[in-house]
């Protein structure tokens, strides 16, 4: 076969792409962990949350989160009878040390734990100009710190306010769903320490996971469903006033 200039121009890029895959090898997150066998999510059972802040403290400790920043936090809602669309929301220090007693007034009060929703169609990954944040094949949104520019596009794009810029590294940071734990067969730090079971890690690809029965038998919602982000943090018993 004669190598013409036309053929050379076609072959060279193809050879470069092929060589890249040869170099890449076959990395796997953990020895016995198969990326394609999981699709991670979380269930938050609002009526069970007591606002103790154990999840926030555990997350900070597990992930070395800087003081004053939160990968997960707890909000206390007060919804008065006549202002359902304007709830009063507070989260002192992210709820890390629990909540002080509140003044009893007409209406209802409840806690809502918040974290990254690990959206299947996440706006934050779509706006990253360098591919430093992404959805893994097992459904977790991660940040590649060594590749992040700290441009803050993703911080603005997240409709749930789940991202921040780490002041030490100047890179984007967020809940990783304790990826270093779940790939080792452990649950997340927040789920591990939740004293009432208000948070539960779920694997939607595991047919034996209790999440399937729970989703069938409960009225479950995600935050801001109108955003169509494919959020995978499911809230049970969530009031309509929750934003």
């Amino acid at each position: 076969m004669d190598i013409t200039r036309r053929r050379l121009l076609i072959l060279l890029p193809a050879a470069a792409v092929a060589w890249k895959f040869v170099q890449a090898g076959t990395p796997e997150a953990a020895p016995n962990y198969k990326l394609t066998e999981h699709w991670w999510a979380m269930l938050v059972d609002i009526p069970k949350c007591i606002g103790c802040g154990s999840c926030v403290r555990a997350c900070s400790e597990e992930n070395d989160v800087p003081e004053g920043y939160f990968r997960t936090w707890v909000e206390r809602y007060h919804v008065s009878d006549w202002k359902i669309e304007r709830p009063e929301v507070e989260s002192p220090d992210g709820g890390k040390q629990g909540f002080p007693p509140n003044e009893i007034s007409a209406g209802k009060d409840f806690f809502v734990p918040k974290l990254c929703n690990h959206c299947a169609d996440s706006p934050c990954t779509q706006v990253c100009p360098v591919g430093a944040t992404f959805v893994t094949p097992d459904g977790v949104v991660l940040v590649d710190k060594s590749y992040c520019l700290g441009c803050r596009y993703c911080v603005q794009a997240c409709p749930y306010g789940c991202r921040f810029i780490n002041p030490k590294t100047n890179t984007a940071e967020k809940c990783s769903l304790c990826y270093h734990r779940i790939t080792k067969g452990l649950t997340t730090a927040c789920c591990e320490v939740c004293p009432t079971g208000a948070r539960q890690l779920a694997d939607l690809k595991n047919p034996k996971d209790p999440i399937h029965e729970f989703l069938k038998t409960h009225t479950v919602q995600v935050l801001k469903p109108h955003m169509a982000t494919g959020a995978k943090v499911f809230y049970n018993g969530m009031d309509g006033s929750v934003r």
Partner: protein, 151 residues
């Protein structure tokens, strides 16, 4: 033209991380790096393997569902080296209140107290054994505080 294309391909191969594009528009190795981080919370199963006496106590009370590190904090380092790394002593007056201080946002069936009225400044473990908190008739305290909030 050919030289320019070759130069571009070579430069791109040199600059772009070798695992970029393996799973998508990102560095594939970032997944393994995220998974490789060490853990801080050992998990209750690890604690229970050694502290069987505490497990037996917890089984008798409602705190059986509370994981060890919910109160004791992250203990993976202690689990790795139990002889030299000891968990810190806990202050029950702070710890218990985080969960059990009365708050209108807490679920109505959850046991809550106004600690200032309930304990009068005493540490909770003066009367309650944290691993088995219900006060039994044969326990340290014989009477139930009258000021326990009914929530």
């Amino acid at each position: 033209m050919v030289i320019a294309v070759v130069a571009f391909v070579l430069l791109r191969t040199a600059v772009v991380p070798h695992s970029f594009g393996q799973y998508g528009h990102y560095r594939g190795d970032a997944i393994a790096e995220a998974a490789a981080r060490p853990i801080a919370h050992a998990g209750h199963e690890v604690c229970e393997a050694c502290h069987t006496d505490v497990v037996d106590q917890k089984k008798l009370g409602k705190h059986v569902v509370v994981a060890c590190e919910a109160c004791h904090g992250a203990q993976a380092k202690h689990a790795d080296d139990p002889a030299s790394i000891k968990p810190p002593k806990l202050d029950t007056a702070v710890l218990c209140a985080r969960c059990h201080e009365a708050n209108s946002a807490k679920p109505k069936g959850f046991p809550q107290v106004v600690t200032a009225d309930h304990a009068g400044g005493l540490a909770c473990d003066t009367c309650h054994q944290p691993h088995r908190p219900k006060i039994e008739e044969t326990g340290q305290a014989k009477t139930k505080p009258a000021t326990e909030a009914k929530k």
